[in-house]
Amino acid sequence: MSAATTARPMSVRTLTGGSRLRAGALIVLNVVGLMAFLWPFALPAFTGGNENHHADGPVILLVLLVCLGTLLFVELGRGGMGPKAVALLGVLGATMVALRLPGFVAGFSAMFIIVLVAGNAFGPSFGFLLGAVGTFASGLFIGGLGPWLPFQMVAVGWVGMGAGLLPRTGSWRVRIWALAAYGVAAGYLFGALMNLWSWPFLTTGSAVSWSPDATAAENLRHYLTFYAATSFVWDTFRAVGNGVLVLVLGRPLLGSLDRAARRMRLEVGGDMNVTPAPSATREGAVDVEDPAPVLGAPRGVPVGR
């Protein structure tokens, strides 16, 4: 009888976990997803320019949804997350749901802080999952499932993923300021992206409209005007709110999450296959490998100020 019957080999700690092929596929899909958001600029380059814009509308939307759907499908539709990851997603997702509404001023939503710190603490893969799942649950909770949901899920997922890509080594100060700066940038980017997919539909026929015949630069100019007029103030609230929350809450929250990861023997940044592998040592003791160094010296250790 071998103890290894229960063991799953420890995953390679790569960006997204798993084989190179999977990593490559995910990168491609993420780029495609990004294209789906940026289609007003990208599309004219691909189509010849159809006179009747209106007929394009539903088709374009369908294509976008398919792209995003595939991205979500691959990222989310995987087995082997394990009870620890699911439980964490559930609890953190619940916090996102609880925080979506309170303190709602313009675009600010406290739920972003959860995605930011959890993404930073548990890695890009988890960050994306949490962003997507939390947004979905949040939509369900407030009874607000709308056509924007796939876009929002992916966009919030990207916020979480980015937070996981930030440097996690070094002093607390560096870590927190980097996360705060990212939070501000993410606030604006998120708003810009979410605005972008709806812009052409909202503004056809007006002076800041999108046009498949115009050049990318012209479209960009139009969009920026549109953005300044509508979304900018909204997004500033969000961006500033994110930054402030990270500065105020980042360190204590990250401390809690780091401890939780340690307690749960979680491998951070991996493929979410968190079953530790038992292996026999010389004395006959079975050492269930700690998938460390999860939070050992390389990161999270506060260097003296």
Binding site: M1, A3, T6, P252, P276, V286, V288, E289, D290
Partner: protein
């Protein structure tokens, strides 16, 4: 008979732990046994329970020696999910372990994981509903049911997949007496009518000690398995009848009220001791009515509490205990009537400090001392060191620990310290003994007594009859928002069936603690 659980020379150390949690444990538990794990906090009971279903070492990591056979399966070869149909595990806080929303679906979850076909699942769900007596709850949301019901739903959910071994971690620590009764009755049925093997860890031994076949005494990772009376006799903090047995020198110690009576014979009714007159009035409630949601939580309550009193507020869940405490603290506005603390309307936190039902909800500092320091600073109190406050609760040695690394009992003491540091004369505690081990309870009792002796006032809401019997100078009973009894513990507790301490049950009103009885028998 075959063995349900066989443990061979098992030693286990958690990762990053200084000392091993289990040391060379060898024992066998036969099928159909009702086994009880006892011992102080940190001695290894919880770890042992998790060894039985493989959570140790698969879930926790760590260094593991030895072999465990659960229902014939080697737990090293079978991770917890592979043992799900052999061993059922119910954690201490079942509310946190529910996965789905409706009771019926929760019961089916385990079977879904095991790939049981739907027709069979339907039958098993019905059986479980009947077995645990929870059929009326089937369509309810798990959030809407009481603590005792939740515990039974958790047991049903764990058993639905068909295991013959049931492992429970302190199932009644969070429950009121009625809830605890129902759970123990269910466990009895499972053992006697169904032939299941049940292993549970408990601190509150009054009800269960007399019902079990086997006791496992834990002490710093080592286990002594044997006859319940023998094992419990060795405990420093057993149930009152056992403590009485130790004091008087009986061997074997009684484990039930009936055994105690047989050994002691009848005792004359005890003269009620003269309770010292309370000091100046500190808390005064006149015709206080308050609402909670749509219901009237308090109705025309009159209550006067003086300095130096320790008042136990008792009653069923929903009787209004929490609302009463919160009204005195000044955070629950009265619908009519008045609340006065120190002669005026209570200033929250300044006149009366409240320790909430979940003490964890106040802990956020990095160290225990830091936690106390936060309150000192917030209240602007100079010249008092946090360690001094900690010493009053007997936890000065924990000053540098992270509050979240501590046991439930230690956390309560830390929270109490953090709140008492505000130097409010009136100290209010809402169900402080939830999940509390006897050592921490003892420390708390000592602190409450000294606080009252220094001129403070204490009111605590509790289900814990033994604590009320030991430390309270006065007992107030609430039912439906009204005060139905108010007086010294001997009379009030002696008069009640549900809320009578073991000594009272054994020997009649007036007898509250084993020490009193031992003295009389000497």
């Amino acid at each position: 008979m075959t063995e349900a659980l066989r443990v061979d020379a098992v030693s286990f150390r958690y990762p990053d732990a200084a000392r091993p949690a289990l040391v060379d444990v060898t024992l066998e538990i036969e099928e159909g046994t009702f086994a009880l794990a006892v011992g102080p906090t940190g001695a290894g009971k919880s770890t042992f329970l998790r060894v039985a279903n493989g959570l140790v070492p698969h879930f926790t990591g760590g260094s593991f020696t030895g072999r465990v056979l659960a229902a014939g399966r080697d737990t090293l070869a079978y991770p917890p999910r592979a043992l799900a149909d052999a061993v059922a595990f119910v954690p201490q806080d079942p509310g946190a372990s529910f996965v789905l929303d409706r009771v019926e679906e929760e019961l089916a979850y385990g079977m879904e994981n095991l790939g049981v076909d739907p027709a069979h699942m339907r039958r098993r769900v019905e059986e479980m509903l009947d077995l645990l007596d929870i059929e009326p709850l089937r369509g309810r949301s798990v959030r809407s049911i009481s603590g005792g019901e939740r515990q039974r739903v958790a047991i049903a959910a764990a058993l639905a997949a068909g295991p013959r071994i049931l492992v429970l971690d302190e199932p009644t620590s969070q429950l009121d007496p009625q809830g605890a009764e129902h759970v123990f009755a269910a466990l009895q049925r499972l053992v006697h009518d169904q032939g299941m093997t049940v292993i549970l860890a408990e601190h509150r031994l009054e009800r269960v000690a007399g019902q079990v076949d086997l006791a496992l005494g834990f002490d710093e990772g080592r286990v002594t398995a044997g006859d319940p009376a023998a094992v419990i006799r060795r405990l420093a903090m057993g149930p009152p009848v056992a403590r009485l047995g130790r004091l008087v020198g009986w061997d074997p110690v009684p484990l039930t009220v009936r055994d105690a009576r047989r050994l002691a014979g009848a005792l004359p009714a005890r003269l009620h001791p003269v309770t010292p007159a309370p000091g100046d009035t500190r808390v005064e409630l006149r015709r206080l009515s308050a609402r909670h949601g749509d219901a009237g939580a308090l109705r025309d309550v009159d209550l006067i509490v003086g300095e130096g009193e320790i008042v136990a507020v008792m009653g069923r869940n929903g009787a209004g205990k929490t609302t009463l405490l919160r009204s005195i603290a000044g955070v629950h506005a009265p619908a009519s009537g008045t609340v006065q603390v120190g002669g005026h309307a209570p200033r929250p936190g300044i006149d009366a400090a409240l320790c909430p039902q979940e003490p964890e909800s106040v802990l956020f500092a990095e160290t225990v001392a830091g936690e106390v320091a936060v309150t000192l600073k917030a209240r602007g109190i100079d010249g008092v060191r946090p360690e001094a406050v900690l010493m009053e609760l007997g936890i000065a040695d924990l000053a540098a620990h992270h509050p979240r690394d501590l046991s439930a009992g230690q956390r309560l003491l830390v929270a109490t310290a953090a709140i008492a540091a505000g130097q409010a004369p009136v100290l209010l505690l809402d169900e402080p003994t939830r999940g509390l081990d006897p050592e921490a309870k003892e420390r708390l009792a000592r602190f409450l007594r000294s606080h009252a002796a220094d001129g403070g006032t204490v009111l605590f809401a509790t289900h814990d009859v033994e604590l009320a019997a030991t430390v309270a100078t006065r007992v107030v009973m609430l039912a439906g928002g009204e005060v139905i009894a108010d007086g010294d513990p001997a009379s009030v507790l002696g008069d009640s069936h549900v809320f009578a301490p073991q000594m009272t049950r054994a020997f009649g009103p007036g007898w509250l603690t084993p020490e009193q009885v031992a003295e009389a028998l000497a």
